[in-house]
Amino acid sequence: MPLNKDNIDVLWDTTTPRLYGYLVNVLHDKSLAEDILQTTWLKAIQALPSFKDRSGASFSSWLFAIARNECKQHWRKAGREISFDPEIHDKEIIESKEEDKIFVDQIIKQFSESDRELIRLHYIADLSLNDIAKLLKINPVTVRVRMHRALSFAKLYLKNNNNYE
């Protein structure tokens, strides 16, 4: 799809829910997520000519790369990653959970941060495993193996908690 003003409009509509959902899940702070969403888009728009010269990378994965860099910059400035505290952050994030969502949230808490990032990028950002490999600069096979392990762990966790439908 050629990148022009009309297409960007469509891209915004298709990408923003995934990007914003990803940022909220990472940052646990909706207002901060909005700030970073805006910054990410502005930087993407600004650097769009350089993206046009690049071949083989999808726009959405490029956008997520920018967003990840923005998050890192934010944490660097903040000194460290602020852990999620429901008292401080948006309460509605955990208030309106369905049963499935609560179980998945419980499971991914057991994962390492790198595995959590895989899950977010695959299921929230809807990126393919190859795009995730490019984004994280690791081997695609490694991404597959880690994803498989994470899901196997989740399966075991759910089995132990007797939660199969």
Binding site: K5, P49, V104
Partner: protein, 377 residues
Amino acid sequence: MNKYKIIQNRFGSWGKNKREIPLNNEMLKKEVLSRFPSDLNKKVYPKRSPLIWLPVAFTAMAVFVLLVNFTGYSNNVGKQNIFQAEIGKDSFSTSDVFKSIIPPMPPYGREQSSISDTREFLKIDYNATLRTRNVNDLKNKTEMIIRGFNGRIDSSNGGEKNGYINFVIPKTNLESFRIEIKDLVGTRFYSEQISSQNLLPQKQIIEENQRQTEIKLDNFQSERAQIIGNHNSSIAFYKGEILTKNTEINTLNMEYQYANIWRRAEITNRINQLQTEIEAIQLKIRNENISYQEKLNNINSQIKNTQENLGAIKLQDTNLLDNVATVNGSIYLNWISLWDIADTYIPGPLLAWVLFLTAFASFLWYRRSMRVSYLDF
């Protein structure tokens, strides 16, 4: 349904539920799209960060320091080789213990020594430099060690930054003393220079002086004996002459009682003549005694001086042997900074390492900033 699929579905459902749009989505969208560039075909080059010059500059400085250091080292090695070659031409043999030592001592009096004389009277000088963070403490420990090895401290001086100790220890204790001193600070902070010199020429000079003096003393004693002998024979001769003349006088006195008047006059004249001759002989005896006494005093004085010289030479000999049996030493204590300590442990110039590390760190910084600014993945 496959359990693995169930899990995937649950995660998929979870991911979809997580997707949402921000509350002021339209406003954000409008804001972002208003910044959309008019000409997308315009080439945009990433802004070159000035930080790229930092690693380059630091690396260049490090290489420069290395080159300067290497050049200085080469010159020093060259000079040292020449110095060692010159030393090698003149060096004289030392024991195995001191093989690693360059003797900077002048070859005193070596030209007079005969090669056939292979005796060794090695005088050893020991100099050491210790580097420490606590000069006073190390000085006290060093003094205790010197005294523990039956040594004598001749002078010492200590301050916060520097100190020195001059001392003497028995030669037999030198090896164990060196090990003890080295263990105080470790080999990296210890340097020593031990020089040895064969005092054979001095020993030979002393021996030659002693031999000459003993010959001289023998000569004086022979001369003295000869003076005494000559004197005794002269006195005996004069006493014999007086005895003869007194015998003649006695004979003439006995004849005088029975002689006529003419004969008496002759006897009287003869007796007077004999008495005059006796007086002359007695005068000669007195003169001989005076001359003898003078000669004897003179020769005695010379003998006494020669004996004193001989005593002094023997004392010199004893001193030389004592000197050979001891080691003169001096230990310098220098304060060392942390930078110098690091420099001691790191091969090559420390400054170059610091510059290389700084270059590497600035390169990493540059890479990070570039990664952020290029938005690359």
